[in-house]
């Protein structure tokens, strides 16, 4: 299922490459990323800042802004390449069949429009005809589903709501206004407290089940992936370095970066006095390495091959896991 063309895939991304041409430097944000997603599947796209995970998400929907540009690749959604769709068709899919929720719920809303007005606009965009009982009734129903009691509050502005409520409202707008089959979530709980985060995770889990939504969750927090996802994609310096089902990756990570990253996650309760850290820092994306970008920090460094050749994503260990590491290409 992981290799080649999969006709049953909801989303099939091939060779996605996105670069930012800033004055003086070309930033290789996303390099040759390929993966696919089955209907209803939840995938966690993890990496540290600068790994390119958010850029992948934006590239899928054509939301990369200049000086950034998707240089090459295909984004096949139900078999159609979103990159070659006319703008108005892409706009209909965005928010209709593919929805997006952002990290910062406060800035995702227009501060000078009432919440009710913003939701009405979204609803008019995605519903061909007015819902039974009118838009406001429908909006209240949507908000009730995500646990926000909106009676009398639709005339309120974003600042009248708490962050947690705004995140729920954004989820309602994303999941319930159209009829999405794919939800893209970019660090949806990062700005929330841990108790509210737990509530939002629960809500996403319930909605996914109810609506049969596929999910791509972009996060730096491996624990959220463990809580919510069926599969993990690990990114490092713009490239996909590991792809596998969540149990295999957490039980037996194959790429040395994934291995070191998992060991650096603080456990609760703490199991030792120290957390294992990955030495060094994330590489410079303006001058991509000729070989594996993780080589300078890697504890399984093999020598010249790691410095000179970019390893391809290849089956590693089990059928359900792929890793981009010469440890596995060399063995074969």
């Amino acid at each position: 299922m992981l290799n080649g063309t999969d006709r049953s895939a909801l989303l099939d991304v091939r060779g996605l490459t996105t670069r930012f041409a800033t004055p003086g430097a070309l930033i290789h944000a996303v390099e040759d990323v390929s993966f696919n997603l089955s209907p209803g599947e939840a995938v966690g796209l993890v990496g540290e800042s600068g790994s390119g995970k958010s850029t992948v998400l934006r590239s899928l929907l054509g939301l990369v802004k200049p000086p950034g540009r998707v240089v090459s690749g295909e984004v096949l959604f139900r078999g159609r390449d979103l990159r070659t769709l006319p703008a108005d068709e892409l706009r209909r899919i965005r928010g209709g069949q593919i929805s997006l929720i952002f990290q910062d719920p406060v800035n995702a809303f227009n501060p000078s429009l009432t919440i009710g007005e913003q939701l009405r606009r979204i609803l008019r965009l995605h519903r061909a005809e007015a819902p039974v009982g009118g838009f406001d009734r429908e909006i209240e129903r949507m908000l009730a589903r995500v646990g926000v009691d909106a009676s009398g509050k639709l005339n309120g502005y974003a600042f009248n709501f708490s962050q947690g409520q705004l995140q729920r409202i954004m989820i309602a707008a994303a999941c319930l206004s159209g009829s999405p089959s794919l939800l893209l979530a970019d660090e949806p709980t990062t700005s929330l407290d841990v108790t509210i985060e737990a509530q939002v995770l629960q809500l996403l889990r319930d909605l996914r089940q109810e609506l049969g939504l596929a999910l791509i969750l972009v996060t730096h927090n491996l624990a959220l992936v463990a809580e919510l996802c069926d599969r993990v994609l690990v990114m490092y310096a713009g490239r996909l370095v590991e792809d596998g089902d969540v149990y295999s990756v957490f039980d037996s990570p194959k790429h040395p970066y994934t291995q070191q990253l998992l060991r650096s996650v603080p456990r609760f309760p703490a199991s030792a006095r120290r957390v294992e850290a990955i030495s060094g820092s994330v590489p410079d994306l303006t001058a991509p390495a000729a070989g594996c970008a993780f080589a300078p920090r890697c504890e399984r460094y093999l020598g010249a091959i790691c410095d000179s050749l970019v390893p391809a994503l290849a089956p590693a260990g089990s059928a359900a896991q792929r890793a981009a590491c010469h440890l596995y290409t060399c063995q074969r």
Partner: protein, 328 residues
């Protein structure tokens, strides 16, 4: 021996204006907080945003004068310290901030940032200060070559090390770290946690570590204090508190921590509700509207912070000391 830092009934009430000509309100950011920290001890302070943890840290440092209560340093009342007494006190208490980029002057070189406290307090001469800043760079694991760099030329994790070096420049006894790893990536966060742990042991630092992330507190601290709406609701030794949280709010916080293990997925429902505003705090125990154990008296009377087991202070009507003795 007296505690290094002790606060008694410490309060910080901020007046806020409502609508124009409307009634004035008071935010009870800190409400009669008692806490003592022994020399060499690391205490973690946890709670949701708006619980008052940052205000407690800043009030202990007297960045704002408290509106009530007393602060003791080595047993001496320093609440009303002003002028040179306050300056001397500040040499011995330092702070590491959450966002290193906003905590440093971006136009200054890293050497100047680290030397600034020394200059402000008139310690040493130019030569000895350069020497000292090099020692400090080494102490926090940065190469000496960093001294001539500017903040934008180093990574977030490296700049947080600079922030730590600056806090240590005056050889303080007491350091307050306010979410020092919240803005850092996973792998870098681990480096900073380990650095703080090493420095504690090497320098015998006393630490108040403010965080919403209990798993980081778990690595660094011996004792944990839990805050909710301006009050400490539970204090206890870390291991016991983690094994058996007593206050229902502590239980909710602990159960909400996502675990990096897909086999440990939480199937039980998430904690209820959201933290209310500190302007309109619920009556009685402020937690009662969210509390699964709430009883009628919880809505009318605030429970005192009481010793419920050795070393364990809890402010809850529903937790009885008797019950605990059965468990132990």
């Amino acid at each position: 021996m007296p505690a290094l830092i002790r606060v008694e009934r410490l309060s910080q009430h901020f007046p806020v204006r409502g609508a124009l000509f409307g009634p004035k309100h008071v935010v009870h950011a800190l409400d009669e907080v008692d806490l003592a920290i022994d020399r060499g001890e690391a205490v973690g302070l946890i709670g949701e945003s708006g619980s008052g943890k940052t205000t407690l840290g800043r009030t202990i440092l007297q960045l704002y004068p408290p509106t009530g209560g007393r602060i003791f340093f080595e047993g001496a009342d320093v609440t009303d310290a002003r002028g040179s007494a306050l300056r001397n006190l500040r040499r011995r208490m330092q702070m590491v901030f959450q966002n290193p980029y906003s905590a440093v002057n971006r136009r200054k070189r890293i050497a100047d940032i680290i030397q600034e406290p020394l200059r402000v307090h008139g310690i040493g001469n130019a030569g000895s200060r350069i020497q000292r800043s090099r020692e400090l760079l080494d102490l926090v694991g940065l190469p000496v070559a960093f001294e001539s760099r500017y903040p934008h030329e180093v990574s977030g994790g490296q700049l947080q090390r600079v922030g730590i070096a600056r806090a240590l420049a005056l050889e303080p006894d007491f350091v307050i770290a306010d979410e020092p790893t919240a803005s850092l990536d996973v792998s870098i966060r681990a480096q900073v946690i380990n650095l703080l742990a090493d420095l504690r042991t090497r320098l015998g630092l006393t630490l108040l570590f403010i965080s919403h992330d209990l798993s980081i507190v778990s690595y660094l601290c011996e004792r944990v204090a839990v805050m909710y709406l301006g009050k400490i609701v539970e204090v206890g030794p870390k291991a016991e508190l983690e094994r058996e949280p007593l206050h229902p709010y502590t239980r909710a916080l602990l159960s909400a921590i996502p675990r990096p293990d897909p086999r440990a997925r939480r199937l039980q429902s998430a904690p209820l509700g959201e933290i209310p505003s500190a302007v309109h705090r619920p009556s009685g125990c402020h937690y009662h509207p969210r509390c699964p154990l709430a009883m009628p008296q919880c809505a009318t009377r605030y429970p005192p912070l009481e010793l419920k087991a050795p070393g364990r202070w809890v402010a809850c009507h529903a937790v009885s000391p008797m019950e605990l003795q059965d468990d132990h």
